[in-house]
């Protein structure tokens, strides 16, 4: 009887073992962080490319009819193609991140929400992804 009781305790304890559960959560968080890192990288490329495109179009407008602008024009076309492919990648990734975030975020529990945010931020930071410090939010 005592042996049976001990076995039962072991079984129950193993079922309640938090380690595998945490690993699962961490695994999901890791995947979210992976995708968020990619989104941050795409976003940075997107804004950098937009700057390049603005510069190229401005320059082309300024040089109109004055110089040979063929090279710049070609560069602009390459940028525009890159823009399209970045946009596609960004939109596809956005849907995945949003769905994953919705499935993980404890929206109705503020404390848990903050905990989740802090954990995601630290995971992103550990991977070298850009994170803005929330406390630095500008107050006006």
């Amino acid at each position: 009887m005592r042996l049976l009781f001990c076995c039962l305790v072991v079984v129950v304890m193993s079922c309640n073992n938090p380690a595998p559960k945490n690993t699962g959560k961490d695994g999901r968080l890791d995947r979210l962080a992976d995708r968020s890192c990619r989104a941050i990288s795409i976003r940075q490329q997107r804004f950098a490319l937009a700057n390049q495109i603005r510069f190229a179009t401005d320059t082309l407008a300024t040089l109109k009819g004055k110089n040979d602008t063929m090279r710049l024009h070609n560069e602009l076309q390459i940028c525009l193609r890159q823009k399209d492919s970045l946009l596609k990648a960004s939109l596809a990734l956005a849907d995945t991140i949003r769905m994953q975030l919705d499935s993980m975020m404890p929206y109705s529990d503020k404390a848990a929400q903050k905990q989740f945010t802090a954990k995601l931020d630290s995971t992103l930071k550990a991977r070298g992804c850009e994170v803005t410090t929330r406390e630095d939010n500008i107050r006006h």
Binding site: R43, N51, L91, Q113, T132, D136, N137, I138
Partner: protein, 456 residues
Amino acid sequence: MAKLYLRRGLLPAIMVAIIFSSCHKDNTKIEPINVSPAARSYSSKQLQDYFTLMCTLTKSTKGFYPPQAARAYGYVGIAAYESVRGGIPGAASLYGQLNGLTPVPTANSAVQYNWAISSNAAIADMMRDMFDLNLTTITKGKIDSSEQANLAALSAGVSQDVVDRSVQFGKSVSAAIYEASKTDGGHQSYLDAFQLPYTLPAGDFCWVATNPAVPNPISPKWGTNRPFLSANVNNVTPPAHTTFSADASSAFYANAMGVYNQVKNNSAEQVEIAKFWADDPFNTCTPAGHTFNILVQLLKENNATLEKASVAFAKLSIAENDAFISCWKCKYQYNLIRPVSYIKKYIDPTFATVIGTPAFPSYSSGHAYESGAGSMVFINMFTNGNGNYDFTDYSQLQYGFPSRHYSNFTDMALECANSRFYGGIHYNEDNLEGLKMGQEVGDNVNKLIVWPANLK
């Protein structure tokens, strides 16, 4: 003694009771007992999911610039409200309260409806109508499959006649509202977002193209569209902007220098704010879509039922639609040159903004207008009036932006407005006046329409 009671008390009481009961009988004929479960007994998840889908459609559908997007959200929100109104105690129809809205079908309170099913049918139809000709097979498929999946889930355990009646009711509501939408000036405007032909006014103070690839301004006639509330256009009138001048000692030049110096001295945080709120069409779901994404999150945080969510979406829908009409009226009334054009011409030809300048005049700011309007709806729906709310905006995480935290909705709207100054695309005056005007729009929506109270 008994006779005295009969004479002085009982007899009159019996007579009053007879009269009262006969009156009550008559009333029952007019207002039968509502036999449908209340809207507050349903989850708002499907509604939230539809507005998330709206974001996806806005990003991926040709022709949906900020004004067109705000209008599409607007009519979907109204359809959402009207399709469940019969299940909300004290909810008045928007017919008679909103301009141009023709009578919207009313549910028969003697028979049962499932409001979630009605809402599902109304929203799916209105979404198809709003994006209509520019829907692709994929995007139309997304609406259809959401509608079918929701219907299957919501119909479990519901009798077929209730399902059919609810679907039919939702569709009839949507059809009536869509019919009314055709005359507001924005019908199928996604086919012609630049509203050509349009002659650009000429003058040193006037808007000129900031991107040679986009030589025409977006939706120059949008300000003549019919707003849901006349007060949002007739009474919300921004003051004239600072008088244009190229003189280096003028107030206008000082405003432009303000933008120039801000961009030159932006902190890293300010650059981040400018990009966070950029809300570029086709990369994101536009400024209005960002504000709707915030509302979706707020409803999740508050475990809002279908009742509260439907009212919240309707309020924001009216506010956003009207904010863009009111703002666009102002933009094309003044046709003010953008800071980048002025600065390059009179201050520094090498000046570059932090984010791209959208193709429409400067005064006043659309972002400031719409975030001001949205903030008033949030304050009304989620605070005791002081605007205090511990909120972290996660909606931009999907685009690679870390979340941002706010403790007050007014602060959030102000940051959104200021972001355009940090970005170098608006004079500060555009943002400050735009924010005030937007707040007036939102306030009108809260106060000039009869909304149900004690929502859950």
